[in-house]
Symmetry: C2
Subunit: 607 residues, 2 copies
């Protein structure tokens, strides 16, 4: 596999050319104190080093070896051993302080905003999704604990999670309760010491057991015996693998055990565990019966994080495929010209239109996803660090676009891994090249943290219809205002015209669906997936136009020097996106506008 | 995994309701002798039994165990051992005479037409693609040998291939020569006894070595020392693993060895071998320097066969996903009605629009692919057994539609395996359910036997532009004539109108691209993939309309009885295809109509 190279240029471009985040940071008191362009630059560069040098090299072998499980001698639960090199890589990562990058500064975190932690997550996941899951889930659990945990819990557990001495897991799913958490059966019973006795079995628990750290902090959804039925009776508990004394030293093992690990299509080096709680001691996080809300604190961050995992696999796939395409010689160009670099008998496959199509699909969708994820991360930062209108808008847009990020970026990421594999021909199917691993690893991102179908329903039903269009109109208005600022700029017409058309169509479709909610909800259930993608391509067109604008300004200024090629490439890629990828919306429009009869008029027995 | 059930009803429907093949058979003298509805029915039923009972059960374990390779003591080459149960399953299969199902009756074959062998291949591959490859490639090699081999070679080798005592392999690819066979370096030197000494190394050779049979017949592309450069200097040789005496008994081992096997994403139970020929004794097949033509005899059959493999994985995926969806309970229906079968706390996920969308996508695309593959198989049968105009048209349409079948069915098949996996949620990612294996197995079908990008170029450049539209107009005229026969049938308007529009658009796009070939060939290279898919959806719409018509006649006649539900389901599924899937063509039209500038104006260094 080609060595992974973090796209730092592109990240800098987004931060400073497109989104002017240094100005944003100066305007937000909490961030202004501790962050500027230099600090951010140092963070991204150091993080890139770790991703490229410490993590990427273990990924291929980690896939082959996977994690292993050995039952304990007493027959209750077993131990998980990670693949060669993972323990050392995690230690290196933790020593760098990266586990607390986005953490609360009061408990030893670095307090960095999402625009930086999002890039951090991309690097980690491009290097190895399986590795990234251990720290990324710990960071997510940390967010929930930081916001909802008691002072005592935070001092005892959060500090150790930030330092990377302990990791965390999120224990939600049960065998019969996947997307439908209201059905969970894990029980929690109050004890005399105000702790809870937690009993139940959870499946699909990422990092539920492993040998990377001495302790694991489980956040567990459970119900009190007298709790209300359904989602409104769920509470969140912190259940440590090993009990912790007041001085943070480790005490007795808790009644938590790993019953088995799953054998999966990919992310072999990530332990996916069956976790059994057998009267384990747990501590309530937040209020009773408000567990889902506590969980959702981390969900918004994690779902964008999973979206970014999709992008990360797509980026890696592109880098590998590009290197292969430049090197591989097969066939001759259809049109010979001076740029065709002929070998004796064959040209590089870069001369073939279909290969260029595949490469540019990946490039345009990856860079578009990165830019859009940066935009959404910025909204989360406004929501967290901003105030007044800015904060309100940040909250609205991040709520709206979280399911979009999760589903759209992972669908595109998976597509891009498959495309990159195709560039390799037969070699893409062979394990040693690593392309097929990317396909297998990326595939989970469309499934976990809420399937993409669930995300589409969240977007359309809860966010769009639920707010009667208020949230989506905030986005539409922003784009419309932006388009007004560039009216008459002839250099931008090629982007402004199709974006404007796409926006009008998207707006019309959104309104129509909101109305349709009063007529037949099934029409919305059926349209949700296509609607999410329509939103995605429209939003991506907006961001691609902004990138093209920034790049055109730079190439015109001719201050670009070495990086002039970078800006030229951006403009070309923007053009490609508008010409060849934005038209995907036409088919989506056509199907969204049909009704659900042709799906619901068929009796189940006729399937 | 759900037990595989061969869709015999659908196969019968296509053969007799839609394509009236019993009449066709009666009209073709060579087939009329040996084949009628009863014989065909017995063949399909027996074959279904083998697929369901002998082959499907070994697939899951075959994936886990894979094939193993052990180097010989002398260090030259090694032995391949297949997974548990494969030897027995192959023996059962061979004893049934299935290896010669489509073979030449003069040498012990059963002489069955492609419409039947195509269904046979679908069953085999649905049961286990990895297993199917051994007999299917042997059948393909048999076609080439039957058509181009000398009497002596056929008596000696073909009879044993039909009986299943020996298998065959196709040795084309070399490390530096994948899609570009003109670059091969394997040499063949004439010997005193008129045999050839073959020397060279081949990669990606499916079934190049294994323990299923005592001998393996390799068909090897090689060049004579003084052969013309490029594709016009390629000859085809038969090189047995073990030399064969005149009485068909086995003699000395030939100088052929397996150097290694590949570790792949899927089809683990299929041996993909590096084959080394070190002065091996070989026999010329056909004329010198006409090797590619001999190879292409089997290519047209094999490529449709690979297309059918895509369908086969999609069919299996659908069967599994449907069973899971009916069983799995999560969430509640958006709209409650009398058909909503509520459990205590959750409905079956069949109530969710997005799940129905996924299931119907699979159903409509699978059944459409099966019908279209049956149509193309019929064209091949006209070409083989017909005469005069019928034969000419069969040749034209099968030449035109072979690359379509290969690429379109495998792209859809892969999509359907991914969709089926998604229906399972997290369980789709776990190995034990088998859904992820289908994804991994299906993925190769888009790559081997000529990547789908190569197929698209073959379709557009060689078949459409190469004939100046003659071939594609034969298809367009047929559909137009068909549409005229149903003018005024109000029951069919919902299908006729969109089909007519799609056909007009496809015709216009085809003409435009043929003209564009004189302006800029790169525009065609860039459009090829989308053009292939546009053709696919248009052709599938034609076939779906024919299926809807046949089914409506049956439901109207009310002679359907038990099978009335079958015909109702067909009509509903046709409606779904036209409403929700045919609109995919709109985005394809939009991109085909753009030019290649935005791909070729970017310098390679800007990627």
């Amino acid at each position: 596999m080609t060595e992974y190279k973090v796209p730092l240029n592109d990240m800098d471009f987004l931060l400073y050319d497109v989104f002017n985040v240094d100005e944003v940071w100066r305007s937000l008191p909490q961030l202004a104190e501790q962050l500027d362009k230099d600090v951010a630059g140092a963070i991204l560069q150091e993080c890139a080093k770790i991703a490229e040098q410490a993590i990427a090299p273990i990924s291929r072998e980690g896939d082959e070896e996977g994690v292993s499980f050995k039952l304990n001698d007493n027959g209750i639960g077993g131990k998980v051993t990670t693949a060669k090199g993972y323990k050392e890589a995690f230690a290196t990562y933790a020593e760098g302080g990266w586990c607390g990058l986005g953490g609360d500064v009061e408990y030893g975190g670095m307090g960095m905003p999402k625009v930086l932690t999002a890039f951090h997550e991309e690097m980690l996941s491009s290097a190895d999704i399986a590795f990234a899951l251990y720290p990324v889930l710990t960071a997510g659990a940390g967010l929930s604990l930081a916001k909802h945990g008691s002072e005592g819990l935070k001092e005892k557990f959060l500090t150790k999670m930030y330092s990377g001495q302990w990791t965390a897991s999120m224990c939600l799913t049960e065998a019969h309760a996947g997307s439908d958490l209201g059905l969970i059966q894990t029980k929690a019973v109050l004890q005399d010491d105000n702790s809870y006795s937690v009993t139940g079995s959870k499946i699909f628990i990422t990092g539920g057991e492993h040998d990377l750290t001495e302790n694991i902090v489980h956040l567990v959804l459970a119900k009190l015996p007298d709790a209300p039925a359904g989602p409104r009776g769920i509470s969140l508990f912190l259940v440590p693998k090993i009990l912790v004394n007041d001085d943070q030293s480790l005490g007795e093992p808790n009644k938590v055990s790993c019953g088995a690990i799953e054998h999966k299509m990919g992310i072999h080096a990530s332990a996916t565990c069956v976790m059994n709680f057998d009267g384990a001691k747990g501590y309530l996080i937040g209020e009773l019966n408000k567990g889902l809300a506590c969980m959702f604190t981390m969900m918004n961050f994690e779902r964008i994080g999973v979206g970014i995992q999709g992008l990360s696999a797509g980026e890696r796939s592109y880098q590998n495929a590009l290197a292969y395409a430049k090197d591989r010689k097969q066939g001759r160009a259809l049109v010979k010209n001076e740029t065709t670099k002929s070998a004796n008998n064959a040209d590089s496959i870069m001369v073939h239109g279909d290969v260029r199509r595949m490469l540019l699909n990946m490039k345009a969708l990856n860079e578009g996803s990165r830019a859009l994820s940066c935009y959404i991360a910025l909204q989360l930062d406004y929501a967290t660090y901003g105030s007044g209108e800015l904060q309100a808008k940040g909250e609205a847009l991040s709520a709206l676009m979280t399911p979009l990020a999760k589903a759209f970026f992972t669908d595109l990421g998976f597509e891009n891994t498959v495309t990159g594999q195709q560039v390799f021909g037969g070699h893409g199917y062979i394990r040693e090249w690593g392309q097929e691993q990317l396909v297998r690893d990326a595939r989970i991102t469309q499934i976990y943290e809420g399937t993409n179908g669930i995300q589409a329903m969240d977007l359309l039903m809860r966010k769009v219809v639920g707010s009667q269009g208020k949230l989506v109109n905030i986005f539409i208005d922003e784009v419309r205002s932006y388009l007004q600022t560039v009216t008459g700029d002839s250099q931008l017409t090629e982007f402004a015209q199709p974006l404007s058309q796409a926006l009008d169509d998207f707006s019309q479709v959104s309104s129509a669906l909101i109305k349709q909610a009063d007529v037949n909800l099934n029409d919305l259930g059926v349209a949700a997936n296509d609607y999410l993608h329509l939103f995605g391509y429209t939003a991506m067109a907006y961001i691609w136009m902004k990138m093209a604008q920034s790049s055109l300004q730079k190439t015109t200024q001719q201050d670009a020097g070495q990086s002039e090629m970078f800006y030229q490439s951006k403009v070309h890629t923007a053009r490609y996106f508008f010409t060849r990828l934005l038209p995907r919306r036409l088919s989506l429009m056509a199907t969204i506008n049909t009704r659900s009869d042709c799906l619901f008029n068929i009796d189940d027995d006729l399937f």
